[in-house]
């Protein structure tokens, strides 16, 4: 929607961002678990033009995932309980990464472990593999050693995981924070203390749905992660809180469906954004938002994204 009265700048606005060391051509990434390994969407969009592809969460050994149903739609959102189905880190590195590298994609690996050691080991395996630009740490997994408590809900564990991964990696490390916590700022601080280069937020809210006809939980796994527009207000609030207290770049997401949503995230402090659930509706969403953002910057005489990042927090 071009406004005729708007002055169009001569210079092209600068869309590229440095996210804690990872250079993205534009600030719109696709979220882990929603874009597979890229090739699933190759027919719909030039995947190399996406800001960054965060691939499906990867574990040390293959995981079959949870019994179904694994997804269900909820008001303005969806629940998923995929259960981290994935072929394991070796298959990712040997079979999926080469494809993404060939297509010159900016790739963020997403790793998940049951113990601090597993995270460290995953980072070590990735180290040296060309084609991975950064590591996102999914810390919303139950920690088997601590009896299933999620890593992402305990500042001390967050510190340990980030720290262990940093020791084994030369890549930018981006912990992905769980929103299911009382105090998101203390988690973000722990991540920073552990050496995080940027923060990714937010992962899904834990929720459930009931099949009233059969009088039982709808998901095979009972609980699932809530994503989509429903969680946007919570995501914005947490990013706002963290941006003001922690000086790390933020990759923000949770319910982004269009350019305006992306702008909301940037204005509360996200240097870059990710789209997840929105992809299922519009496979081209990431690049469409990036293009829309460029046009919006031109119309609003903004040459650098830094002019709007966090502007609503002052």
């Amino acid at each position: 929607m071009r406004n005729k009265e708007t002055l169009i700048q001569d210079q092209e606005p600068e869309l590229s961002v440095n996210l804690g060391g990872l250079i993205m051509n534009n600030p719109v990434a696709v979220a882990s678990g929603t874009f597979g390994y890229g090739r699933e969407y190759e027919d719909y969009v030039d995947i190399s033009s996406i800001g960054a592809i965060i691939v499906k969460g990867t574990t040390l050994t293959p995981r079959p995932g949870n019994p179904g149903p694994r997804i269900v739609e909820t008001p303005a959102g969806m629940l998923n309980s995929i259960g981290l189905e994935n072929p394991g880190i070796d298959v990712f590195l040997n079979e999926h990464l080469p494809y993404l590298q060939e297509h010159r994609c900016t790739v963020i690996a997403n790793i998940a472990g049951n113990t601090v050691e597993e995270y460290a080991e995953l980072a070590a395996r990735i180290e040296g593999h060309r084609g991975v630009g950064a590591i996102e740490l999914n810390i919303s997994c139950p920690n088997v050693k601590q009896g299933g408590l999620q890593f992402g809900t305990d500042p001390e564990l967050v510190f340990q995981v980030v720290n262990a991964v940093k020791k084994n990696s030369t890549l930018p490390v981006i912990p992905k924070l769980s929103p299911n916590v009382t105090d998101i700022v203390s988690i973000a601080r722990a991540a920073q203390a552990g050496g995080a280069d940027a923060l990714s937020m937010i992962n899904t809210l834990m929720g459930m749905a009931v099949d009233i006809k059969n009088r039982k939980p709808l998901l095979g796994n009972i609980f699932g992660g809530l994503s989509g527009p429903a969680i946007k207000p919570v995501a914005l609030r947490m990013i706002y809180q963290v941006y003001r207290e922690v000086k790390l770049p933020i990759l923000g997401g949770g319910g982004i469906m269009n350019l305006n949503d992306a702008l909301e995230f940037m204005m509360v402090g996200a240097s870059a954004v990710s789209v997840g659930t929105g992809i299922f509706v519009h496979p081209r969403l990431a690049v469409d938002i990036a293009e829309g953002l460029k046009e919006w910057m031109q119309q609003n005489n903004i040459s650098q994204l830094s002019e709007i990042v966090g502007v609503a927090t002052h």
């Binding site: 929603t34 874009f35 597979g36 699933e40 027919d43 079959p64 969806m78 189905e85």
Partner: protein, 262 residues
Amino acid sequence: MPFVEQGLVVRHNQVSRDMWELEFIAPAIAPEALPGQFVHIRSALGINPLLRRPLSLYDVDKKLGSITLLYKIVGTGTNLLTRIKTKEYVDVMGPLGKGFSLPPKGKRVVLIGGGVGIAPLVYLARVLSDRGYQVKVLHGVESRRQLVAFDKMRQIGVDFMPSTMDGSAGFKGLVTELLQKKINPSEVDYIYTCGPEIMMAAVADYARERAIEGELSMEEYMACGVGACLGCARKLKTDDESYVKICKDGPVFPLGAVELLG
């Protein structure tokens, strides 16, 4: 190659109490579309419902470049879909999934549909009939008014055998009873089926006992429709660890390959 396109609606009419036919022009998708594949469509703009809805290719007119869907009203999505008018556009993604395979030439095939499960079997019947197969179609419904594919099946020229629970048309009883009582298994070389899982399970048992091969078309809740989200998972019967994805590995599978519910 699959596409996302805006299909111009040329026909949209109610065909029974709770079923509608929607025909739209899809110049990119239609030429590629194979029987058994599906499209992923947005039933309304906005975020309610949020996700696309998977619907089988009921019929494809390659000359016109049009696709027809047959859908049953179930919840929000299908309810809102009925509001779309001719000359409006519908946002469609497809063709998706693996369709039916064609059996070797000369095989006598039987298609067995339950309720709205007849949807993928009409386009299949058309293609099989075009290629000269001998095709029998069994369609089980509650009552004759739900025999919505009757005209199409007659026009295609296949042997159409309905069954109704209330006896208002054709055989009185379940379509699987019709299969057992009225079809001579020695005249059946290949079976295709789509319908409630309990019905498909009975058909699969029937085929296994008689060593007849065949395929079925499955449904599962879907988000992406392209194998990216890993949401539409089902267990294979042969392998108790890994899951297939209905949207990408299916929705068509060999009879007996996938665990069915009920």
